[in-house]
Point group: C2
């Protein structure tokens, strides 16, 4: 019913996460109505994406393909002996925006989820164990997501690392009340943690 | 902080309507993680979009650039003497999906909105007046949106067309209760229309 070129675009846009047919139609029609340069710029950015970006072989963060290691690793002002372990590359930027962490990162590449076929050997755990020895790491901050998968990954990681390096300091991000959420809406686990880990005023 | 190629993509995706920085990041990261073909297909669809699609010079519907007129106009099974007037090309496909209209369409290209600089002369009204004479149109169905702008456009259009063609039958889509909305949540104008235009059971 629609012109073929528009149909192809709607189909391609519909592959994006959370984009249904109506949203894809709206995006496509917006691109059609807007100046051609908007569609061209997006096409250009998409064409070079995979060749311009790769994973850092040390931290598995995403980085410019031209670099050898991520600048978040090579920057001499960053402390290589403290490593924050995250699930996905974008988690790094959430932490970086806080400007309160000056250590380095290690991206696992997901969380353990046997249902989705993600077992421990699919994650970059071996590389993390190697890095701890190479860089004399003394603290590992586990920053997996507070989900069932993230929790299981944290528990497994803690066990593996503790067995291998008994003196290594392993910590995790605190549980507590997030800003702006009323006490009455907080879940029991969060509230229990907030009480248990209360801080001195 | 992010690799440049990824930043460029996030910026380009952020131009889409209703897409904020977080959503753009999520789309970009999905495209990076997925097979390269997904990004390539989207880039290809975007590159050809503007050259493959144009507006029908008669109905202003969008159509393949290779065609002379929209198939929704040239199809001999469609009744050229009944014309539904819509604001935007995508409105046509909402009507087409109902499979209950076999006339032709005329796209105004928007609705009157002086605040946004859209005055009556920016809409394809002159072309509609010409079409009525050329195709011996006997019914115009006004299907502008039930918004302030859509209403003003409908009123103006009714006046203009009536002055020019006093015998032309001008109708508009019915107002009433949409499926699945409880009476208690319906607004007063809708409910008044639903009562006034009640149908025989």
């Amino acid at each position: 019913m629609l012109p073929e070129a528009l149909n192809d675009l709607i189909e391609a846009l519909g592959r994006l996460p959370g984009v249904g047919p109506r949203t894809a139609e709206r995006y496509a029609y917006f691109l059609l109505k807007s100046d051609q340069s908007i569609a061209y710029n997006l096409a250009a950015a998409l064409s070079v994406l995979h060749d311009s970006v790769k994973n850092c072989p040390k931290t598995f963060a995403i980085m410019d393909a031209a670099e050898e290691f991520s600048p978040l690793y090579t920057d001499p002002s960053r402390d290589k002996t403290t490593v924050m372990v995250v699930e996905e590359p974008l988690d790094i930027y959430a932490i970086e925006r806080t400007k309160s962490f000056a250590g380095t990162y290690h991206v696992l590449g997901g969380a353990i989820s046997p249902m989705d076929g993600i077992t421990a050997d699919k994650l970059h755990i071996t590389e993390l164990i190697q890095r701890i020895a190479d860089d004399d790491v003394d603290e590992i901050i586990i920053a997996t997501n507070p989900s069932v998968e993230g929790e299981s990954t944290a528990v497994l990681l803690d066990k593996l690392l503790h067995d291998k390096y008994p003196t290594l300091n392993i910590t995790r991000l605190a549980r507590g009340l997030p800003l702006g959420v009323s006490l009455e809406y907080a879940d029991q686990i969060t509230l229990t943690s907030a009480l248990k880990n209360r801080t001195q005023l």
